[in-house]
């Protein structure tokens, strides 16, 4: 009886999860959607508490209380700028939880497990372990605790792929010989190691793809848990999460015109000497402007497009930027924000920061919607973006980012680029945009520069 009640709760939860995700198709319904999903989660958890195997609740209660306290504290106190880090951390928790449940199941049944269950546990444990350490690595890179520059060494790809093959080999071997405990724990260890090694060569600019991919792995690990425990809600939610992460990583890769394989094994950002000397040749006269020059251009522009990038997040310039745009708005200029899909360190990163600064979302445009408008734009203000506005992606076949869809900012009458220094961006690629005659470079911290621009415009 309780068994079927639990199943009814799970069914309701599955429906609510799907409805919740459907709500995400518009910012108007998104909040309600997530409330539905949360209700679904509540039903599923309460239903599970009636599971016949559960005989005492003390550890459950302690775990839930500690987890809720940490989770709530993170949700309330984490600044929006730390969102990529938080997402990476939560992927690692999800991966760890899945791996531990798998180990616990194996420890409990070890030899008497059938081929199918052992296989499922194998996938669960490897995916979970890999997600755990991989996400921690991503977290470290985002925090700057680990260098964001790709770490490469000789035979890196060969050794990584061999290690992956060995791990999968053990998973398959365990399907036939489930009782081989030593191999099981070796597999767990290899899973942890793989997570570290696979993220090590990936550069900061590729973080949006990696985070999406880890999102997908975390989902697949949860799904594998569902196969192990014969639990449908786990399979369904894991599949939803897995396909979401997968779809996002495809979109991100497309936005960089790169294949999955290239992101995972290409060690982007470790530009070869040859490519560097190739691109160095674009260096020319830089047109450096003062705050006053930039203010004059912005003040006289009828149409302005703002292009934010990771630099805006680093200097937390979004609030100052919004103030600047409000000033221009009140002078009857048309101001739009243009956001490249891979601007920042995770999908949608810039949108969240702008939303935090109260920028209305109907003022924000995607790459495809705005790219035709630049030729009719008076002024473009690039705030800490680099590779996503590099015309070399269209003109220079030797460039590592050749073929990547970029914002056609150089078509505007004047381009103002706010940048810390002339140092090349994360990918180590020189940007032709900076030496174009219609480009004005304003050096300095983005937030300080924009604040001074606002003061200048108020005069």
């Amino acid at each position: 009886m309780t068994g079927s009640l639990i199943q009814v709760a799970y069914l309701a939860a599955s429906v609510l999860f799907i409805l919740g995700l459907k709500g995400m198709s518009s910012p108007e319904t998104a909040r309600r959607g997530m409330l539905q999903a949360a209700l679904g989660m509540f039903l599923a958890i309460v239903g599970t508490l009636f599971h016949q195997d559960i005989i005492s609740y003390e550890w459950i209660i302690v775990g839930i209380v500690i987890g809720s306290a940490i989770g709530a504290a993170m949700a309330i106190f984490m600044p929006m700028t730390a969102m990529p880090e938080r997402i990476a951390l939560s992927h690692s928790f999800g991966g760890l939880a899945a791996a531990l449940v798998g180990v616990s199941e194996y420890y409990r049944h070890a030899a008497e497990l059938g081929a199918f269950k052992t296989g499922a546990i194998g996938f669960e444990v490897v995916l979970g372990a890999l997600t755990f350490t991989g996400s921690l690595m991503a977290f470290g890179k985002l925090q700057g605790m680990i260098t964001g520059v790709p770490v490469t060494y000789r035979f890196q790809n060969v050794s990584n792929i061999s290690l992956l093959a060995i791990t999968l080999g053990i998973v398959v071997y365990l399907i036939f010989v489930p009782s081989h405990q030593m191999l099981f724990y070796l597999m767990l260890g290899l899973g942890f190691l793989l997570g570290i090694l696979l993220v090590l060569p990936i550069g900061g600019a590729d973080m949006p793809v990696v985070i999406s991919l880890l999102n997908s792995y975390a989902g697949l690990a949860a799904s594998a848990t569902g196969f192990v425990l014969s639990n449908n809600i786990l399979i369904i939610s894991g599949a939803l999460d897995g396909s979401s992460g997968f779809l996002l990583s495809i979109m991100m890769s497309k936005a960089m015109n790169r294949s999955f394989r290239n992101v995972l094994f290409g060690a982007f950002g470790a530009v070869t000497e040859e490519a560097l000397s190739e691109t160095r040749s674009v260096a020319g006269a830089i047109n450096e402007g003062t705050i006053e020059d930039a203010a004059t251009v912005l003040w006289n522009a009828q149409t302005t497009v703002i292009v934010p990038g990771y630099g805006m997040a680093v200097s937390q310039a979004q609030h100052a930027l919004r103030e600047l745009v409000d000033l221009l708005d009140s002078a009857n200029a048309t101001v739009k924000y243009a956001i490249h899909p891979v601007a920042g360190r995770m999908p949608g990163h810039m949108n969240v920061l702008l939303a935090e600064a109260n920028v209305p979302y109907d003022q924000i445009y995607d790459l495809d919607d705005i790219n035709g408008e630049f030729s009719r734009t008076d002024a473009v203000l690039v705030v800490g973006a680099n590779d996503v506005v590099n015309p070399a992606a269209k003109t220079n076949p030797a460039s590592p980012i050749y073929g990547m869809p970029v914002l056609n900012v150089e078509e505007a009458r004047t381009v103002i680029v706010l940048k810390r220094s002339m140092k090349p961006g994360f990918a180590g690629i020189e940007n032709e945009l900076f030496v174009q005659p219609n480009t004005m470079m304003v050096f300095g911290d983005a937030k300080k520069t924009i604040t001074r621009l606002v003061e200048e415009l108020k005069k």
Binding site: I76, S90, L96, N215, N231, G348
Partner: protein, 98 residues
């Protein structure tokens, strides 16, 4: 192939298909909340951890289950709360929260 595996695959494939269709319609504007929202949903592995933590199969299982419950709860509670906090910020030009 055991029936259980087939049945599970059935559900997995259909759910992944539905997920793909539904998520395809999510605008880039909401990609971050989507990610943190699906992450909260995948905290459903809590359901598996609960049984491991409360069943007293053996000490190791209970300990692992307890850690897993804590981790998964962080994701569920933190994930839904921060997603809501983010979505609250998305407003239209007239200033009304969505």
């Amino acid at each position: 192939m055991p029936d259980e595996l087939l049945f599970g695959l059935y559900i997995f494939v259909l759910a992944a298909f539905v997920g793909y269709q539904v998520i395809y319609r999510v605008p880039p504007l909401l990609h971050t909340p989507l990610m943190s929202g699906t992450n909260a949903i995948s905290g459903i592995s809590l359901v598996g951890s609960l049984v491991a933590a409360g069943a007293h199969y053996n000490t190791v299982s209970t300990a692992l289950g307890f850690i897993a419950v804590t981790c998964a709860t962080i994701n569920v509670v933190g994930g839904f709360m921060i997603t809501d906090r983010m979505l609250k910020m998305f407003k239209k030009r007239d200033g009304n929260p969505s």
